[in-house]
Symmetry: C2
Subunit: 767 residues, 2 copies
C-alpha cells in the first residue's frame, strides 16, 4: 500500500484506455483471422454508452441520438428479421426457391408447353392429377422425351439423359459461381458462424458477395439434386443480412462484441424462416450456434424470430395459414409400448450420426490433405453425376427431398394416393380407412419399402460425400430424410406386426382387430428428429423445431425420448457434433463450452516461456528508448507485451498489444515532432526525469491496458480454461507472489488441450 | 522469475488445496446464510471425479462405482422427475389437489349426501347437469342451506355464511401449520430459489419439513379461496424433492455447485408438472430461475421434464390424452388487424405488472417494517374473510380460478352453456353457431361482462394483498386470471364492434356479414400471457408455456407480440420483475445477471479498506505465531484473510478463509501435540528455520487458496462485476503493481450497486 501511488494517481475517470487523450485511429481494431477480446469490447461499448448518456440532456438532438442509440438494438434485429425474410424467403424461398427451385427441379424432367416458366404443379393445376403416381398424365406438361422423341421408344433413356444433363449443368454453374465470386459461400457456414460468434474475425465471411452468391447458388445446388438442404445455408444468409444491417448502426459496426449479439439474433431469425419455427430458432441459436447468450440476446433473438415469423405469416407461403412446413395431423394417440421402437430409432439416429461424422471428417481430411482437393469443380460434377444417375430410376430419390419428407410424415388417409398407402382397405375402394378395417399391406407397400430401403442406402452414402463440397450445402434436410425413411420402414413393420399379431400381449390391450393403432408417419417424424439429433447433437432446440415444424405438440414425449437416446448413443462414440468436428478440422480457435477440461495441469505448465524457451519479451514502464521498443517488436512475433515496473522487481503494471504499439508509434511519428529513435518511451502517468539534452519522450499510456487478467502459477488449468471461456479472454498473465512469470493465450490453451487429447497441437492454426 | 520457487516448488499435483495431506473435516463447508464460492466447488468436484476415474481400472467394484458416479446425474434427475410427479402431482394435484382441493373447495358450498368424499362434479355425475349455470339442480348434492334450513327462506344467507366459515377455517389451518412447523413453506418460494441457485446457503429451505407442510398447506390455501395459485409453490416443492434426492448421491450432496445443477433441473420438472409444459419448464428454469445454466444442465433439465411429462402422460390426469391443462381449439385464424388489440392487451399487462410490483412491494415493506407484520395469522384470516365475503355474490369470483380461466379461454360453441356464450343465434335454438349467423350479444353477455369487470377489480386488489402472506401462494394463476378477464372483455368488445360495423374498412376485407371472425377466447389467452409477462418479465418461456398449456401453436405471433409489448411497457416503469423485487426486499445477496452495471467507478473505490478505515487484516506467510493469528481472527469480522510474503513487500501469496483457519487450528490442537500459543504458523511448503527451543510449528498450507482471484486497482467496476457474475466469486483481491491493496467481496459490490442506485446500502444483509 505504501508504493501504490506511482502510476495510479490519475483521476477516477481514467480507465482501461486513458480517455483524456485523443484516441488514436486504428487502436482497438483487429487483424483478420485473429481472436477478439470480449472484455475490452464490452468496456468500449459501455464507455460509448455513457458518453451518449451524459450528453443526453444537452439538446434535443443529443436526446434523439440517445434514443436512437437505445433502440438501435431492436431496430437492427427488426431489419434483420425483415430482409432475411424478404431476401432469403421471399426472393429465395418463395419466388426463387419455392418457384425457381421447383421450376429448375422440374426442368430436369420436362417443360410446360403453355408457359415455360410454370413448374409441373402450376402447369397441371387444371388437370387435378398432381399426385406423384399420376404425374405424367397432364396434357400440357411434356417430358423431354415426349418433346424431342415424341411417343417413340427410348423415351425413358432420353428422360434419364436430360435429367442428368440438367443436374450437371446446375451443379457446374453453382460451383463455378462460388469459386469465382465468393469462396466463402460454400458449405453450410454454421461451423464458421460458431467460430465467429465465439470471438474470431473472418473478414468477408458475412459480406454482401457471400450473401448474393450463396443465395443464388443455393437454389442451383438444391435443384441439381445433390443430397443437400437449404436450411443450414439460410442461417448463414441470415447472418450475412444481420452483419450488413449492423453497419447502419455505429453501435454495432464498430464493436465486435455487440455485432455478435446481432448475429446471434440473426441466426435465430434464419431458422425461424427456414423452418417456420420461431421458438425453435431462438433455441437453436442458444444451444447450437451462440457462444455467449445473455438474456438480452435471448430477447433480441426472440424479437427477430417474431418479426421473421410475422412476415412469414403475412405472406402465407404454405397456403394453410400455418407457419409450418410439414403440417401433419394424426388420428390416433401413441401408446406406451411404442416407446420401444421410438428408442430404437433414437439408437439408429445416434449410430448414423457417429458414423456420418467419422466418415465425413475422414473424407474432408483426405480432400484437404491430398491433391484431390485442388479440383473442386470436377469433384462437384462427379458427385452430381453419380447422384443423378443413381437417383433417377428410384421415384423416392428422384423426388425433391422436402417433398419426400412430407410424404413420409403424412398419415395414410382415404385421399392419399401414394404407393406407401396402398393398403387392402384402400384397394377395395372402401373409403373407410383409417376408421375402417383392413390395414394389411398390399404388394404396392412392400415394393415401396424396397425402394425406400435402396433410397436410404443411397442417401446415406451420397450425404457423406456431399457435405463439404464447394457448393452451399445444408445437412438438415438430408439427415431428416434418412431418419424419415428409416422411421417409416420401422413404422410400417410395427404396423404389420400389430395387424397380424393383434392378440400378442403387447398389442392386445390397445390394438383391437382391424383398428388403426399404429401411425407410420409418426415413426418417420421421430426417426427424422433422431437422425438430425445424432448428427448435430442438438436436444431441446431440435424437439422444438420438429414439433413446430409438424404441429405435433402431443408427440413431445416420443420426440424427447428418441432425441435424448440419439444424443447418448452418439456421445458414446465421440462427443463432437458435426459442426464442432468441422471446426476442429479447419483449425479454428474455438474453445468449446460443452467439452470439460478434466486434466490436472497447472497454469505454469501451459504458460510461455517454457523451460528451455527464451525469456518472455517484456517492456519496462519508463526506461526504454523507442529503438529498444522497436527492436523488441521486430524480434518477436507475439501479439502483445506485458509492461513491468523494472527488470529487477518484475512487478506487473499492464499489458500492451503489438498492433496498438505499432499504430501508436506511427501516429506519433506523423503528428508529434521531436520523436527520435533515442526518445524515451514511458507508460506512466508522468514523464520520467530525463537528462536535459534528451529528445522529447513518447507517452504510450493511452494504449496500456492497466487491468490485465492475471492468475497465479498454481492456478489449475481447469479454472484458467473456465475464465477464458466465460470472460472471452485473449490472453492472461501468470504471476507468482506478485511477480510476472509468463503468459497464456487462447492458442496456448487450445494447443495444450489438443496435446492432452493426444492430437496434433499444430492443428490449431490461428491466434 | 528469480524468486519464483519460494512457496511454489511443490509437485504438480498440488492444487488449490494440498491434497497430499489428509483433508481436515469441515474445511470447505459453509455457514448458513453465506455465499458459496463456485470456482472452489467446481474444482472440488473435478478433483473427486479424477480420483474416481484414476481408480476405475483397479477393480470391477471401482469400475461400477465410476459408472454409478457418471450416471448419478441422470439418475438423480430421473428420481426428481418421478417423485415430484408422484408427490406433487399424483399425491397433491391429483388425489389431493384435483380431488381434495376440489372437494375442499366444493365443501364451502355444500356436501354430497350419497358419499361425503365426493366433490360436486363426482356427486352429480349421473344427472349430466354439471355446468355452472345448472349447478344446483342435482338431487344428491345439498348446499349447506338445504341441509340445515331445508328449502326455507334465508338459504342464500346460510350458504354465504358457510362459504365464509369454511374459507376461514382452511386459511387458519394453513397459516397455523406453516407458522408452527415450517416457516419457510410460505410464499411462492421462487425468489429464495433464485437466490439459492445464484450461490447462497439457506439451510432447511429445501428440507423435508418444508416439502410436507408446503404440500398440505398449499391445498388448504387454494381451497380457502384466497387469490393465489399452486404453480409457483409447486416449483418450490419440486426443488425440495430434488434437494432431498440429491442426498442419495455424495457427488451432489457434498458439493454445493453440483447440487444447484440438480435444483435447476428440478425447477424445470416442477413447471413441467404444474402446467404440463415440459419445454416451457426447461425455458422457465433457464430464463427465470437459474443463475448458471450450462448446456449440461439444459440436457438434465430437459430429461427431468421428459420424465415428469412422461409420468403425467401415463396417468392422463385431464382425461384427453393430452398433457395440457387448458386445451383449446379455435375455429378461425387471426387477422393482421387484430394485432392492434393484442398489443393493447400487452400494454395493459405491462401496466398491471408495474403497478402490481410497486403496490405489492410497498405493502410487503410495510408488513416488514411495522408492528403489523407480527400477526401473520390474523392477517391471513382477515384477507381470507374479505376475499370470501366479497367473492361469494359474484359467480366469476366464487368459482375456482383455474376453472374460470378455462371458461374464459374456451371458444363459444353450440354446446357451451356459459352465460358468456348467450349470443342471439344460440338463444334462438339454432345450433349453427359458430358457422351460423347471429353473433349479436344478448343481455346475458352484457351482464356477464359487468360481473367480469367487477371480478377484475376484485382480483387486482386482492392479489396485491395476498402475495406475501404467510401461506404458500403462487402468482401465475391470479395473474393469468386477471389477464384472461381483461382479454375476454376486450375480445367481446371487438367482436361486437365487428358485428355491428362489418362494413368498416378494417373489418370489410375479412369479416363478412354474420361470419364468426373474432375469437374472444383467443383474446383471453393473449391477455393472460401479457399479464403474467408484466409481473414476471418472462418472454420466451412464457410464450412456450402458454402455447404448451393451450395447444395454440398457430397463435404464436399474437402471443409473442403481446408478451414483448408487456415486457417493454413494464420495463419502462422499473426493470425488476416481482421475484427480483422480493429478493431485494429481503436483502439477499443476489447479483442479477439482467441488470447492467453502467457506472464508471474503479475497483479501488469499492475495495476495503476505504480511505479512513483501519488497514486490511493480512497474514504473513511464515513469521506469525499462533497467538498473533488468533488475535487477528478475534479482532476482525471478515470472512477471510489475504496471505502475503512479508509486511514490507506486500506481495500476495494466497487467501485463507476464517472458517477454515478456525477449524484447522482446532483440529491441530486436538490431534497434533506440542502446538502452543507461541508456535510459529506458516503457509509455505517448508517450515521456516526456527530457533532450537521454539515449539513445534503449525503448517496451514492445506487450507491456503494459492490461486486467489486478483484484479488491479485500475480495473473498472463493470469488469469486476462481470467477473463476479460469470465466475461466481465470493471475493477478489485488489493489487497495484503486484502489491496487495485491498479486497472486494460480493457484499461490497452489492452495497456499491445499491449506493449508485441511490438505495440504502445497508439493505444488503448477508455475506
Amino acid at each position: 500500500m505504501s508504493n501504490g501511488g506511482g502510476g495510479g494517481g490519475a483521476s477516477s475517470s481514467t480507465h482501461l484506455l486513458d480517455l483524456l487523450e485523443e484516441p488514436i485511429p486504428g487502436v482497438g481494431t483487429y487483424d483478420d483471422f485473429h481472436t477478439i477480446d470480449w472484455v475490452r469490447e464490452k468496456c468500449k461499448d459501455r464507455e460509448r454508452h455513457r458518453k451518449i448518456n451524459s450528453k443526453k440532456k444537452e439538446s434535443a438532438w443529443e436526446f434523439t441520438k440517445s434514443l436512437y442509440d437505445a433502440w438501435s438494438g431492436w431496430l437492427v434485429v427488426t431489419l434483420t428479421g425483415l430482409p432475411i425474410f424478404f431476401l432469403a424467403e421471399t426472393a429465395l424461398s418463395l419466388s426463387l426457391s419455392h418457384a425457381a427451385a421447383d421450376w429448375l427441379n422440374d426442368l430436369k424432367e420436362g417443360v410446360c408447353l403453355s408457359a415455360m416458366w410454370f413448374n409441373h404443379e402450376q402447369c397441371c393445376w387444371d388437370s387435378n392429377e398432381t399426385t406423384f403416381a399420376e404425374r405424367d398424365k397432364c396434357p400440357q406438361w411434356k417430358t423431354w422425351a415426349e418433346l424431342i422423341l415424341g411417343q417413340g421408344p427410348g423415351s425413358y433413356i432420353m428422360n434419364y439423359f436430360m435429367f442428368t444433363f440438367w443436374a450437371l449443368s446446375f451443379a457446374f454453374l453453382a460451383v463455378s459461381l462460388v469459386k469465382v465470386f465468393a469462396p466463402y459461400a460454400c458449405g453450410s457456414g454454421i461451423p464458421e458462424i460458431k467460430t465467429i460468434l465465439s470471438g474470431f474475425i473472418i473478414r468477408g465471411y458475412l459480406g454482401k458477395w457471400t450473401l448474393m452468391i450463396k443465395t443464388i447458388t443455393l437454389v442451383l445446388a438444391v435443384a441439381s439434386g445433390l443430397s443437400l438442404g437449404k436450411e443450414g445455408p439460410l442461417v448463414h444468409v441470415a447472418c450475412c443480412c444481420g452483419n450488413i444491417f449492423s453497419y447502419l448502426f455505429p453501435k454495432y459496426s464498430k464493436n465486435e462484441a455487440k455485432k455478435r449479439e446481432v448475429l446471434s439474433a440473426a441466426s435465430a431469425a434464419g431458422v425461424s424462416v427456414a423452418f417456420g419455427a420461431p421458438i425453435g430458432g431462438v433455441l437453436f441459436s442458444l444451444e447450437e450456434v451462440s457462444y455467449y447468450f445473455p438474456l438480452k440476446t435471448l430477447w433480441r433473438s426472440f424479437f427477430a424470430a417474431l418479426v421473421a415469423a410475422f412476415v412469414l405469416r403475412s405472406i402465407n407461403p404454405f397456403g394453410n395459414s400455418r407457419l409450418v412446413l410439414f403440417y401433419v395431423e394424426y388420428h390416433t394417440p401413441w401408446y406406451l409400448f411404442e416407446l420401444f421402437p421410438f428408442i430404437l430409432l433414437g439408437v439408429f439416429g445416434g449410430l448414423w450420426g457417429a458414423f456420418f461424422i467419422r466418415a465425413n471428417i475422414a473424407w474432408c481430411r483426405r480432400r484437404k490433405s491430398t491433391r484431390f482437393g485442388k479440383y473442386p469443380v470436377l469433384e462437384v460434377i462427379t458427385v452430381a453425376a453419380i447422384t443423378a444417375i443413381v437417383a433417377f430410376p428410384n421415384p423416392y430419390t428422384r423426388q425433391n427431398t422436402s417433398e419426400l419428407i412430407k410424404e413420409l410424415f403424412t398419415d395414410c388417409g382415404p385421399l392419399e394416393s401414394s404407393q406407401l398407402c396402398q393398403y387392402r382397405s384402400q384397394m377395395n375402394g372402401s373409403q373407410a380407412y383409417p376408421a375402417g378395417s383392413d390395414a394389411a399391406a398390399t404388394p404396392g407397400v412392400y415394393s415401396a419399402m424396397w425402394q425406400l430401403s435402396l433410397a436410404l442406402i443411397f442417401k446415406i452414402i451420397m450425404t457423406i460425400f456431399t457435405f463439404g463440397l464447394k457448393v452451399p450445402s445444408g445437412l438438415f434436410i438430408p439427415s431428416m430424410a434418412i431418419g424419415a425413411i428409416a422411421g417409416r420402414i420401422v413404422g410400417i413393420a410395427v404396423e404389420q406386426l400389430a395387424y397380424y399379431h393383434h392378440d400378442w400381449f403387447l398389442f392386445r390391450e390397445w390394438c383391437e382387430v382391424g383398428a388403426d393403432c399404429i401411425t407410420p408417419g409418426l415413426y418417420a417424424m421421430v426417426g427424422a428428429a433422431a437422425c438430425l439429433g445424432g448428427v448435430t447433437r442438438m436436444t431441446v432446440s431440435l424437439v422444438v423445431i420438429v414439433f413446430e415444424l409438424t404441429g405435433g405438440l402431443e408427440y413431445i414425449v416420443p420426440l424427447m425420448a428418441a432425441v435424448m437416446t440419439s444424443k447418448w448413443v452418439g456421445d458414446a462414440f465421440g462427443r463432437e457434433g458435426i459442426y464442432e468436428a468441422h471446426i476442429r478440422l479447419n483449425g479454428y480457435p474455438f474453445l468449446d463450452a460443452k467439452e470439460e477440461f478434466t486434466h490436472t495441469t497447472l497454469a505454469r505448465e501451459v504458460m510461455r516461456p517454457r523451460r528451455n524457451d527464451l525469456p518472455l519479451a517484456v517492456l519496462t514502464q519508463d526506461d526504454m528508448t523507442l529503438a529498444e521498443l522497436q527492436n523488441i517488436i521486430s524480434q518477436t512475433s507475439c501479439n502483445g507485451f506485458p509492461v513491468i515496473v523494472s527488470k529487477e522487481s518484475q512487478r506487473l503494471v499492464g499489458f500492451a498489444l503489438r498492433r496498438d504499439i505499432t499504430i501508436a508509434i506511427e501516429n506519433a511519428r506523423r503528428k508529434q515532432e521531436g520523436i527520435m529513435l533515442n526518445s524515451r518511451v514511458y507508460f506512466t502517468q508522468h514523464a520520467p526525469t530525463l537528462p536535459a539534452d534528451s529528445p522529447r519522450p513518447l507517452k504510450l499510456r493511452s494504449i496500456l491496458d492497466m487491468s490485465p487478467f492475471t492468475v497465479t502459477d498454481h492456478t489449475p488449468m481447469e479454472i484458467v480454461v473456465d475464465i477464458f471461456r466465460k470472460l472471452g479472454l485473449r490472453q492472461c498473465l501468470v504471476t507468482h507472489n506478485g511477480r510476472l512469470l509468463g503468459i497464456i493465450t487462447k492458442k496456448d490453451i487450445l494447443r495444450h488441450m489438443a496435446q492432452m487429447a493426444n492430437q496434433d497441437p499444430e492443428s490449431i492454426m490461428f491466434n
